[in-house]
Each structure stands twice: as C-alpha cells, then as structure tokens.
C-alpha cells in the first residue's frame, strides 16, 4: 500500500471573491463556502470567522477540528461518513498544512466541547493555538439535544468535514511543495532486512462508550463501540479512515485533525525500516462492561502476537474507567511477551495528590503522560470570543462549572475543558511531573 500526502503550507488566510490558494495565501469566498454548509438543512445559521496565532481570541465551544484535504481523484476524504464506504490509504491526497477547520457552536456547548485560546497563558495548553483556525460558527435545528449535556453535534461535525474538503479543492490539481510518502508492504511480503528488526504495533483505543449511535468515534463510518479490535494499516488512519466522535471531555479527545496527522504513527513510520519493522495499527475501543474490556484486551494481545510483535505503543483516548481498558490491554500484551509503552493523561486533582489512573498495574512500567485533566487553570479575559463563552459554564462542560466565567471575561476551568490539550496521539509537549 502506497500513500502520498501532498503538502501545501498555508501562511495566511483571508476572505475574498474566489476560493483560491496561491503562494501560501488561502483566500475563501465566504458565501460560496457557506452554501456548502447549508447543504445540510439542519444548519439554521452559519458564519466563518478567522482566528490566528497570537491574536487575543478565545474560541468555544469547539466540537471538532478538521484539516482541509482532498483526494486528487475527487473521491471522498472521509468515506463512510460524508459519502458511501470507499477504500482509503493509497494514491494521492492533498492537504493544506498549518490550518484547521473548527466546528464551533454558535450558542450550545456540552460535556465534550473544548476551548482554545490563541494567545496568553492558555495558548500553550493546546497545539491548536498554533494553527490558522477557520471557525465554522453555526447553529442547528437539532432541538432534541439542545438541553442535553451529551450532544452528538452531528450536523456541525459533518459540516466541518464538508467545509474542509471544499477549502482544499483549489489545490487538488496543483503540484505540492512537498510530498510525504507512506509505503506499507504486506506483512507476508517483507524483505529479510525488515524481518530482522523488532516488530512493533500501534494500538489506538478509540472513545466508544456511548450506547446510542452518533456519539462514538467511527472507523470507515462504523461505530467503534460495536467492533472487536481490528487490524488496519497506518496509511488508512493517516488518510481518513477514523473520524472523531462527540463524547470524551475535550482535553482527552482526539480530533479528526489529529487522526490524519497522528504524530505517533508518523514517528513509527519514520523508524520503520531503520530501527523497527512496523507491522500495523490495531484499532481498539473503550467499553462500558468489564467483560467487553477483557475481551478487547485479549483480542489486541492475540492480534499483536499473531503479527509477531515484540513491542507496542498503546494510546488511550480518555481517562476514568477507560483506564481499565488501558491497563488490561497493557497487561495482556506484556503477558504475551510484547514490550509496551503507553500514552495517556492522568487525573491527579487540583492539588496533584490523587492517584493518576483509576486502575493500576505494576506491569505498566513505561508510560508517557500527556496532562492532568483536573489541572486548575485561570485564564485572563480575551478581547474577542468566537462562539459563546457562557457555554463553558452553562452546558455541562466536563471542565467547567456554574461559576467558571468571571465578570471581566476571565475564566476559571479545569484542563478538561481545553480542546485536545492532552493529545494521546503525541503531538504536544505537555506532560506531568512531580512537584
């Protein structure tokens, strides 16, 4: 399997009379872009607002982030979600780099929605403050969930996927500045040279704890909560096979942007052929019953050992009871003889003195920690808010509470509310240390 990602570095974004990309400048014809949004009749009002690094801007409630991408063949970037199911992972995909489309609620937030500060002390919490953000600020007629803490945010999240494809269209036939190449030869056809290197798998535990359809992360459009762990190629993940859901508290969430840019996966592909023989990705999930957790852990370990894996990196999209899925999988792999490194965040409380994970194991001796969900943050007021600040306090945000917003516009929240701040895909510098 051979995938090429053609990269177009975006240095600035502006609105104009035609959607174009030239010499690093992305120009958006707003009315035309909004027509793409309004294709879904559930969208009642929509606007596009730009937020750039270092601006005094706060964005919330952010529901997902998407990188503008298109396939040079014109086929769908997120099959099974925006169109019928199609294969991904080979051929040529073009991507606008340094820019992200954010799905932002005009009014309504919820448990999983995030906050991004483009400057000030909050900016360093999340890598999304470093991107040129094209905010789709919209409201929908999904009245059935307006008052619900748990929202599927279906119309808004799909609209962001459509908008991202529309924005990449101008570069579809252009020659990219740089091409990333991902070759993933079939396991049975690997060279002797590769086979002498230690085999490594990547295990991604997707958020999938909601029982009803529409909340969980999806794989080719399929609800990750309704699958047994499955083997997939890195190419497919880096090319849109996985789309983020709408349930996990923001800091623990892996956005769609992060799935196709999965930093750990890219790093493993870079090592492939020199220090390791990378044998694939096992997509697993996070469950609500012990038996399901145990079954998933067994299946992951079985797949890994069938592949001859000697090493594994396990990433958990979540915290709390999913720590049990994480620890069980860690233990099962180690028991099978696979050496594991885990990536997860922790929940040590405002004073840092609580147990980091709810489940523990002496076998879990190699963990990369990406954040403390309950880190207490006081963020100064921002000149401009994109979306609605009240949502953090009013709508049951996992990191906010009734008194989170002060009169001067400053906010007091837990890290839980910061959008994709504890990136378990490994694209951030944040960690947790002893003080």
């Amino acid at each position: 399997m051979h995938l090429e990602i053609g990269k177009f570095e975006v240095k600035d974004v502006q609105f104009g009379s035609k959607t174009t990309f030239a010499e690093g400048l992305l120009t958006i014809h707003k009315e035309e872009a909004l027509q793409v949004i309004y294709e879904d009749e559930r969208i009642t009002t929509a606007d596009l607002v730009l937020a750039k690094p270092t601006e005094p801007v706060r964005i919330t409630p952010v529901k997902d982030a998407v990188e503008p991408r298109c396939k040079v063949t014109g086929e769908s970037v997120y099959p099974g979600v925006t169109t019928k199911v199609l294969p991904v992972g080979s051929g040529r995909t073009h991507a606008l780099k340094g820019v992200s489309v954010l799905a932002v609620g005009k009014h309504w937030g919820g448990f999983q929605d995030g906050l991004i500060d483009m400057s000030g002390p909050g900016a360093k919490q999340t890598p999304f403050s470093q991107l040129l953000n094209i905010c789709l600020v919209a409201d929908t007629n999904e009245t059935f969930e307006k008052q619900e803490q748990q929202k599927k945010n279906t119309a808004l999240r799909l609209a962001a996927l459509r908008l991202a494809e529309y924005l990449a269209e101008p570069v579809r036939k252009k020659v990219p500045e740089e091409v990333e190449r991902y070759s993933f030869p079939p396991l049975a056809k690997r060279t002797q040279e590769l086979l002498t290197l230690p085999a490594v798998v990547y295990v991604l535990q997707l958020q999938s704890q909601m029982l009803e359809h529409g909340y969980n992360a999806t794989v080719y459009g399929h609800d990750a909560g309704r699958m047994l762990p499955t083997l997939i190629t890195p190419n497919e993940v880096l090319d849109g096979a996985v789309v983020s859901g709408s349930f996990m508290p923001a800091s623990s969430k892996i956005s769609t942007y992060q799935h196709v840019n999965n930093a750990t996966l890219k790093r493993l592909m870079k090592e492939h052929g020199t220090t390791i023989n990378f044998v694939g990705v096992i997509l697993s999930n996070l469950n609500v019953q012990l038996e399901e957790k145990e079954r998933a852990a067994l299946m992951v370990a079985q797949l890994a050992s069938s592949l001859g894996a000697e090493g594994a990196i396990v990433a958990e999209e979540g915290y709390g009871n999913p720590d049990t899925d994480f620890i069980l999988t860690y233990e099962q792999l180690e028991q099978t003889g696979v050496k594991v490194v885990g990536i997860t965040n922790e929940c040590t409380g405002r004073d840092g003195r609580s147990q980091p994970l709810v489940d523990l194991s002496a076998k879990a001796d190699a963990i990369i920690s990406t954040g403390n969900v309950s880190e207490h943050l006081k963020l100064p007021p921002m000149e401009r808010v994109i979306g609605e600040l009240e949502a953090v306090a009013r709508d049951g945000n996992a990191g906010g509470w009734n008194e989170s917003i002060k009169e001067d516009g400053s906010v007091e929240i837990e890290n839980n509310a910061i959008f994709c701040a504890d990136s378990s895909t490994g694209d951030h510098y944040k960690t947790v240390k002893d003080y």
């Binding site: 704890q209 029982l211 609500v288 019953q289 012990l290 957790k293 009871n321 720590d323 049990t324 620890i327 069980l328 147990q355 709810v358 489940d359 523990l360």
Partner: protein
C-alpha cells in the same frame, strides 16, 4: 460499619481499597441489563443485592470479590 461495593470494574474497586466487592453488570447500568425485560432486570437486581447482603454477613481477612452466577 461494613460496606459492600457493587461495581462493574472490580479492579478499580480493589485499587481504591474496597474490601467487599460484588461484580455489577455494566457501567451505565450496574444493576440492570438493557437487553432484558423490566421483570428480568428486577430479578437480576434482587439476586445481586442478595449476594451483596451475603457479603456483608461474611467475615473476611482480605479484600474479597463475591462472584455472581451468570
């Protein structure tokens, strides 16, 4: 005052120091089952509560998980 914890994730209960533990059905419905009728659920619930009461009546030396028949 003895406490019995009905928990689906028995390993977490053990980790935090619970001494009498009875496994529950699932995280969102520890004493129910979405795939069963209301009556079946109630009898399942009663069965597990009775195991919990038995756990409270049992003298133990170390943290113990009281298994429930499937």
């Amino acid at each position: 005052m003895p406490v019995v914890q009905l928990a689906n994730l028995v390993s977490i209960a053990k980790t935090v120091g619970a001494n009498r533990i009875v496994p529950a059905v699932a995280i969102p419905y520890p004493l129910g089952d979405m795939n069963k009728s209301a009556e079946e659920q109630k009898s399942l619930r009663k069965q597990r509560v009775e195991v919990a009461m038995q756990a409270l009546l049992t003298t133990i030396e170390e943290a113990t998980i009281f298994e429930v028949k499937k």
